[in-house]
């Protein structure tokens, strides 16, 4: 049931046209951050106002929406955004990655491979990869226009000088189609290889910073590295304690004050599907019939 007091998908048509034009330009220039007139949304900055506006501009009544927060479908941010679009757009929602046509995500890429029929919308806090190296927008804009990315390599080199390896674990910068250096939002670098060559369209929205950018399907997104220090996707060296997966990104959960801990899949849908298929981890219990 749609709340009749709101336009379809909350935003007014004028705003959606503006966002849609920005998205199309973003798709035409992969990795370039298109400025847009971000609106106040009924949620605070940092809760996905950029992603919500991109999702609102893309949704059709036929879509099936999935929202994840750090991989989980059932955290506050994910639940409230899902309910927001249930009320204002009347779209169907799901927790199953394979059933969704639009997936809004905060800081993860689902483990299940995406398809051509899906759009992945990222919530982005700081879209400018050079921002912490150069605070002035006028300068970072010039650096992008001149393809002057030496500073980013200096930053990665300083990681190596200090830690012996590239210690950047999330928001690991990528170069898109050999041109723009792009912040993939704070996804773990474990997810970086999934950015490149994805059959799904990937859209990025930063509400407070008023930027939209895009990674068209099958685009190359190369994680920056050095010949002698190649990029390495990393994760906790454990298996999921619930489903036993050895190849998924894990969250560490503290279970008591005696140093007890467990590692579980960050992607809750992935873990649920594996357990439903009979996989059991170190601390997992077999799923009873009809549950999950």
């Amino acid at each position: 049931m749609t709340d009749q007091a709101y336009n379809f998908a909350y935003l007014d048509e004028q705003t959606k046209r503006m966002i849609r034009r920005a998205i199309l330009k973003g798709v035409a220039v992969p990795g370039y951050q298109v400025p847009f007139a971000s609106r106040e949304m009924p949620m605070p900055y940092g809760w996905g106002t950029g992603g919500v506006q991109v999702t609102a501009a893309c949704l059709t009544p036929e879509d099936v929406l999935k929202v994840i927060d750090q991989g989980a479908d059932d955290t506050t941010n994910a639940v409230s955004i899902r309910k927001f679009f249930q009320r204002t757009a009347g779209v169907a929602t799901t927790e199953a990655t394979a059933e969704a046509t639009v997936i809004q995500t905060r800081h993860r890429i689902p483990e299940a491979p995406l398809t051509e029929d899906q759009i992945l919308v990222y919530q982005v806090p700081i879209p400018e990869p050079l921002r912490f190296l150069e605070p002035r927008e006028t300068e970072t804009r010039k650096m992008h226009s001149l393809e002057e990315y030496g500073l980013m390599h200096v930053k990665l080199y300083e990681d190596i000088a200090r830690h012996g390896h590239i210690a950047t674990a999330y928001a690991y910068p990528v170069k898109v189609e050999g041109r723009y250096v792009m912040d993939p939002s704070p996804i773990p670098r474990f997810d970086n290889p999934k950015l490149s060559g994805s059959p799904a369209l990937q859209l990025f929205g930063a509400g407070r910073e008023q930027r939209i950018y895009a990674l068209p399907p099958y685009s190359r997104a190369v994680s920056l590295d050095f010949e002698d220090h190649p990029f390495e996707a990393s994760k906790a060296p454990h298996d999921c304690d619930l489903c036993g997966a050895s190849d998924s990104y894990l969250d560490e959960v503290i279970t008591d004050d005696q140093g007890g801990r467990m590692f579980v899949c960050s992607d809750t849908d992935h873990c649920r599907c594996r357990r439903a298929a009979g996989h059991v981890g170190r601390l997992g219990a077999p799923v009873a019939e009809g549950v999950a």
Partner: protein, 190 residues
């Protein structure tokens, strides 16, 4: 066409029809070579259904539009003005331009953005007799291996690609069908 006719032919249900039209447009822009159905608007001739639908989906009072050649007639001018409020301007000032490929020449007139703001480039809505998945070979972002699209020529799009990240972007419309060619696509003769 009388002035009253200009009032007809808009979306019956603007939020939903614009949403579906944009998704079709996003799909073809993100996957150059793909051809999709696009409808909803009933614009006056010679504006095609697809071009009229693109106009209703993307144009408003903030987007100067240029009508080229046979498209620069009173019926189209009135329809665009009534339904979108977009100011009608010369080619150099346009964010969108509508016309046949021949009428849009020389395409060097259109905005290609600036090095700092490559998004400030014109989108050409090119009316075609038909759209076929054959002809020029396309590679680049959005295309897995390669795609084919019946383009009006190759040289202009190669020159446009050479300007990347600057350059204009094209939406091709024929009847109720739409395809797109963003500036990022590499175009080659077959």
């Amino acid at each position: 066409m009388t002035a009253v006719d200009a009032l007809a032919g808009g979306f019956a249900d603007p939020p939903l029809e614009a949403a579906r039209a944009f998704r079709a447009l996003l799909d073809v822009m993100a996957r150059p070579g793909r051809i999709a159905d696009l409808g909803g608007a009933v614009p006056p001739a010679p504006l095609s259904v697809a071009a009229g639908t693109v106009a209703l989906t993307l144009l408003d009072g903030t987007t100067p539009v240029h009508l080229a050649g046979a498209h620069d007639v009173a019926a189209v001018r009135e329809w665009i003005t009534f339904h979108t409020g977009a100011p009608l301007v010369g080619a150099e000032a346009a964010m969108f331009a509508i016309g046949t490929w021949e009428a849009l020449q020389p395409v060097g007139r259109f905005a290609i953005g600036t090095p700092e703001y490559p998004d400030r480039a014109c989108t050409l809505i090119v009316e075609r007799a038909e759209l076929l998945a054959e002809g020029a070979r396309l590679t680049g972002p959005g295309i897995r291996d390669h795609a084919h699209l019946s383009l009006p020529e190759v040289a202009a799009f190669r020159a446009n690609r050479a300007l990347f990240p600057l350059g204009f972007d094209c939406v091709f419309t024929a009847g109720g069908r739409v395809a797109a060619l963003p500036r990022s696509t590499i175009v080659e003769d077959v």
